[in-house]
Subunit: 125 residues, 2 copies
């Protein structure tokens, strides 16, 4: 398999606080996001923190999706990393932003597996 | 909890090919890396691909560590993300690089949870 990959780093602000604290719902959103992007889900691991917050990952054949949510700040820290050039990680990222009802999405896409790491100018959406 | 975090993106080349294909050993390296950095391990999920390659994650209280290995290229794609300012993700990252016997490590540190994403100039080690 080629080492080339696309890694979208996303900061999602002003999200729905209840969703950010609902582990079951987040897990479903993440599995759906992977499938909508055309990825193959391999492992799913999520953790609920006390008193609030959820961390989790979906490992896909093509790499991973992760979340760390901070309901008290309306914030979720998201990574969507897909190897190869068939799957677009932005499809999954945008689905997650919509599902978390984020009103402010900041993201950058980092090429992976190509040698020196180069990060393009941030897209502000 | 404060949203501030440090995310080290690392490309590890010229690694030991046998280790890159040994899921049990990689899992142990990652748990040890988290503990050496002072993190608290919450969830561990790894997957072995056929014919080769390992993907996995350690979810820590402070965020996550991930790997995607490509033994056929001697390459491992690594992320170490730690929330807060107590834990240094570079401690875990460097331990992983040593353990995978990488002869060429490229990494950048991306601040998370602070607003617009700013990526400093890459460190070439």
């Amino acid at each position: 398999m080629d080492t080339m990959g696309r890694h979208v780093i996303a900061e999602m602000w002003d999200c729905n606080i209840e969703i950010l604290n609902d582990m079951g719902r987040i897990e479903q959103i993440f599995v759906d996001a992977a499938l909508k992007a055309g990825a193959e889900v391999r492992e799913v691991a999520f953790h609920k923190f006390a008193p609030q917050g959820v961390s989790g990952v979906v490992i896909i054949s093509e790499s991973h999706l992760t979340i760390h949510s901070f309901p008290e700040h309306g914030y979720a820290s998201i990574d969507v990393y897909t190897c190869g050039d068939i799957i677009d990680p932005n499809v999954a990222c945008n689905y997650i932003a919509d599902s978390l009802q984020s009103k402010k999405l900041e993201k950058v896409e980092v090429p992976r597996g190509l040698g020196p790491i180069k990060v393009p100018v941030q897209e502000a959406l």
